[in-house]
Structure formats: structure tokens, C-alpha cells
């Protein structure tokens, strides 16, 4: 009996295929959108996480901030000066800090024979490679001897090396660096491995020299741009940030002009943005599901009116209220269910396409699929009840005499 009713309902739907499809459209789009959006959310989050963890783990950035302009005062540069030695004091300020390096950099023109390329020159120290989990593929990285000696040595990023020296025999050769009409000559001691572009910049397209050399020769100053600290574990990051804050409070009497951000904080912020964005888009998708449900109710009401006579005939032949109710409920459930299945297909397609465009991993979360699909059934049920009850309540004689 039940299967018969399903059969009758499906016959009803297939009798009017175009209209059936159109009335399912809202559900198809709604379910598809929910699945796509959840997939975009998880995919882009994965991308952010992998980009941030590419920086190396447990990192804290210490940079010069800006004092806030308030009460009509113009904001001004911070007055705390970052010296090379300060890195040791910062290290002492927090036991959670495992490594710390000073960092200074500037743009310039790298010249080798006919080739010249604008790129970043970074003054740094040996632990840079530990912090960033970044190894040379050839030669070696800067060591403490180079720092002490203020040696004129340079390590090239993979792409920069490739573009300057088309052959790969560059170790031991020299490269010229030109900045503000001065030219510096460095001896190449290493080429770094190929490294994906991260949030901290394009590792492949920069070069590295000892921080001391950079300050003495290039910057002509004893101030660095900032520091990068690494804690022993990521759950110590907040503690370390607080201690470093305290250090600047004590040392400079002002920590507001120093920006101290842990990787965790960046990650949190990114995740927050991501989550609220997903929530908002998910809400819109859910609304379109509800609108789809109203579309189904509309079409079911039209269908009940159109088929009043059929209902009368069925009742005259012995259909009970329950039979008519179930017939129309199954019809709207079938509408939303088939719409839901098509929507899952659309969601997979949409998520795949956008993951290719956004260049993040294609991840479909099974709970999202299940929830979106069940929600479409619930909606079909909910919005199908009213038309079905209306059909079941029709009086046989009135239904039969309906023109």
C-alpha cells in the first residue's frame, strides 16, 4: 500500500517534468550552496593554516608599530629603537623563547653579468633556517662566524639563483647588489631549497646576508627592523607575548608602539574571519533553502487545486484521508529529496570548481552533505504538510464537481 502511494506520487511528478524541475530549483541551489560554502570554508582554512605553518612554527613577530594619533595629534613613528643586542635581552625576558633573530631588509638590484633583478636583501642570522624550517640545497647558510666577521657572504633563494645564474655553478662566485647608487659585492656560499610562497613573503626571490654585514655596510645604522622569536611550543606563545610586552614596558616605558604578534593570533584572526564569513554565506544558503521550500509549497498548492477532481475520483473509489495525505506528502518529499540529491551534485561540482580557482584543497565534509540533504527533506515535509492536508480534507462531492 505504502509503495503504491509512492508510485502514485512519482507518476504525478513525472507527468509534469519541467514544472517539477523548476519547483526543485530552489532546493537544488540551496543544498548546492550550503555544500559549496562549507567546502570553501574548510578548503581556504586549510590553505591559511598551511601557509602560516610554512613560516615555521610557534613564531612571534616583533615590529615597530605606530603610536596612535588622538586628540588632534598626528600619529608618529615609534620612539623605541631596536638594536641588535636587544634580541638577547628579549630572549632573557621570557624562558619560553627558544630562538630569536634580528631582522633587517631592503630592496635593491642584483647584478650578474647581463642579468639584473630587483629583489629583497635580508640581513639575518643562522637560526633563520631553523625558525623557518628552510634548508640550503647547495652550500651552507650563514653561521655565527659570518656574523662575527661581518663577512661579505650571501645565500640566494632558489628562483633568484636560477635567474641570475642560468647554470648551477654559482657557489664561490660573486654577485653585485646595487642600492642607492652604491654597489656591494658578495661571495655566494649557498643556494636555498625551493620554497612555496608564504604569508611572510616570497622566500625564493630573496637573498640572505649576515645581519651585522647588513647593518654595517648596507643600512649604515645600528637599528634593525624587528625580531622574530620562536617559542618551545605553540601553547607558550601567549605567555611569551605577554612577557615580551612587559619587557618593552620596562625597557622603553611604552609597549604600545611595538607590535608583538604571535602566529597563533594571526591564525585565530584568520579563522575568525573565515568562520564568520562561512556563517554568513551559510545563512544565506539556508535562506535560499527555505525559499526553495516555499517554492515547493506553492507548486504543491497549485497541484492540489489542479487535481481536485482527481482527488474526488480517488475518494469516490475508496481513498481515505490518510491515503490522499500521504500521496501529496510523498510528492513534496520526492520533490525536495530529488532536488536535494541534485543539489549535492551541484555542491560537489561547485566546490571542486572553486577549489581549483582558489587553489586550495578540495574537501567535502560529509556532515555538511548529510545535514544539507536532511534539511531539504525536512523542508519538503514541512512545506508539504499544508497542501497535503488541504487535499485530504476535500469533500468527495465538492471535489468531484470541481471544474
Amino acid at each position: 500500500m505504502f509503495f503504491e502511494t509512492i508510485n502514485i506520487a512519482l507518476r504525478g511528478l513525472s507527468a509534469n517534468k519541467l514544472r517539477t524541475f523548476l519547483s526543485m530549483l530552489g532546493i537544488i541551489i540551496g543544498v548546492g550552496a550550503v555544500i559549496t560554502i562549507v567546502s570553501i570554508g574548510t578548503g581556504s582554512q586549510q590553505q591559511i593554516i598551511s601557509q602560516i605553518s610554512n613560516l615555521g612554527s610557534n613564531l612571534i613577530n616583533i615590529n615597530r608599530g605606530f603610536t596612535r594619533g588622538w586628540g588632534g595629534r598626528v600619529s608618529s613613528d615609534a620612539n623605541v629603537s631596536f638594536t641588535l643586542e636587544m634580541r638577547d635581552y628579549i630572549q632573557e625576558s621570557s624562558p619560553a623563547i627558544k630562538n630569536i633573530i634580528a631582522n633587517a631588509q631592503g630592496q635593491g638590484l642584483f647584478i650578474q653579468g647581463e642579468n639584473n633583478i630587483r629583489a629583497n636583501l635580508v640581513g639575518t642570522e643562522g637560526v633563520y633556517q631553523d625558525i623557518n624550517i628552510y634548508q640550503p640545497q647547495e652550500g651552507r647558510f650563514i653561521n655565527s662566524r659570518d656574523i662575527e666577521d661581518r663577512a661579505n657572504v650571501i645565500v640566494l633563494g632558489a628562483e633568484l639563483a636560477q635567474e641570475l645564474f642560468e647554470d648551477d655553478n654559482s657557489i664561490g662566485r660573486t654577485v653585485r647588489f646595487n642600492q642607492s647608487n652604491s654597489t656591494f659585492i658578495f661571495t655566494i656560499i649557498g643556494i636555498m631549497e625551493d620554497r612555496e610562497r608564504g604569508m611572510m613573503g616570497d622566500f625564493n626571490n630573496q637573498a640572505y646576508i649576515p645581519i651585522t654585514t647588513y647593518l654595517d655596510r648596507i643600512a649604515n645604522s645600528n637599528e634593525v627592523d624587528g625580531f622574530i622569536a620562536q617559542t618551545y611550543s605553540s601553547n607558550q606563545a601567549t605567555e611569551a607575548v605577554n612577557q615580551i610586552n612587559y619587557f618593552f614596558e620596562m625597557y622603553a616605558g611604552d609597549s604600545s608602539s611595538v607590535r608583538i604578534t604571535s602566529q597563533d593570533q594571526i591564525l585565530d584572526t584568520m579563522n575568525d574571519i573565515n568562520r564568520s564569513l562561512s556563517l554568513m554565506l551559510g545563512g544565506i544558503a539556508a535562506i535560499s533553502l527555505v525559499v526553495g521550500g516555499i517554492g515547493i509549497m506553492n507548486i504543491m498548492l497549485v497541484s492540489v487545486t489542479e487535481r481536485t477532481r482527481e482527488i474526488g475520483i480517488r475518494k469516490a473509489l475508496g481513498a481515505k484521508k490518510k491515503d490522499i495525505l500521504v500521496q501529496f506528502l510523498i510528492e513534496s518529499l520526492a520533490l525536495s529529496g530529488i532536488g536535494g540529491i541534485l543539489g549535492v551534485g551541484v555542491g560537489y561540482g561547485g566546490a571542486y570548481l572553486i577549489s581549483k580557482i582558489g587553489d586550495w584543497p578540495f574537501i567535502i565534509s560529509p556532515p555538511a552533505v548529510i545535514i544539507a540533504f536532511s534539511f531539504s527533506l525536512v523542508i519538503g515535509m514541512f512545506f508539504g504538510i499544508y497542501p497535503a492536508v488541504k487535499a485530504a480534507k476535500l469533500e468527495p462531492v465538492e471535489a468531484l464537481s470541481y471544474e
Partner: protein
Amino acid sequence: MLEVNELRKVYNSGLIEVEALKGVSFRIDDGEMVAIMGPSGSGKSTMMHLLGCLDHPTSGSYLLDGKDVSGFDDNGLAEIRNKKIGFVFQQFNLLAKTSILHNVEVPLIYAGVGRKKRRKIATDVLTKVGLGHRLDHHPNEISGGQKQRVAVARALVNNPSLILADEPTGNLDSKTGDEIMELFHQLNDQGHTIVLVTHSDEIADHADRTIRLLDGELVKG
């Protein structure tokens, strides 16, 4: 056997009240073939709807096989319509979007008969009314006479004791009408009680007796 006592039906559509039946009493025995006649608007269809349990009387009683129908709820009435009564309409009232076979199967579906058995019974009945070769056709692919044969087959399929026909030949030419009447005769010979509404004296002559209505009242004699 069916019996109506002081049956009244008042239609109440907004301001206007129409008393379609004004207290009608009669009885029809099992195996009878009875014609109901009367001018247009005299209450024939109203009477048929009440006899067919498609509508509730305003007052009065209707006993079907000794049981007062007013004692049944909607589900009980649906069951009576399904098992005890077969209805044939002037406008055929077939389901347009399905095959003839499925049309005849519908009462069996609501009676809870399984698919295989259903198919067999419906095929047999359709063969009996001479449409065994048209099972898969849709109603719009057959003639009016054939449609009414399908409707008769559908009315018969649950083997009801009472067959009600409201102007079954009203939409047919006289030759096809006679063929349908022949069919009713056969059914009557097989023991079905038959009540039919007609405007035609010729058709009424087929019946054992005639009940005449005028303005919602029984015409005596």
C-alpha cells in the same frame, strides 16, 4: 438491500438555501434494477451522492444492508465506497494521466490488494467489458463508449453489491448507450443491485421499476 427514510438534503451556499431533497423514503431490494427519473434539478444526483456515501444527508436515515450509514466516520464511509459500492459517472471521471489498466486497479489499491493479483483482476474485468486489447492505452486514446466501459469495469472490480450510475449514457449516442445498458443487464443478472439515473424512457424501460422525483419529492404512483 437499501432503505432511505425521510431523507433531506439542504445545500447552504452563503445566503441562499436550496432544499434539494425534501424528505424522501423508499427501499430497493437486493438484485433489483431501478431507474431514477425526474426533470433537471429535481434532486436525482443529490440522491445518488447520498446513496453512494459521497455526501451526508441533512436529516433522515440511510440504511445499507441493514446498517445506518450515519454511524460511520470518514474512514468507514471510504471503506463502504471502496467495497460495497461501484460508481459510474456521466462524465466518466477516469484518471487521464494513467493507463486504462491502472484506472481499473485504483479501487483495488485502496482495498490493499497486492500488485500481481490486482493486475490479474483488473485485466479480467477489462476483458469482460470487451477492452482486453486496450490495457495500456490512456483514456484520451479511446472512444466515449469505451471510456464508459472502463468506468463500469472500475465500478465492478471490487465486486460491490450495489452499482450506482448517474446518467451513464448521457454522453453517449443511443447505440453505444444500448451497449452499456446491455452491460448493466448482465451485471444485474449476476446479482448486482443497480440504481441508475436517466432522462430517457427507453433506458428506464430496461429497469424493473422507476422512482420518480419532482422538486426534491417522490412522485407517488
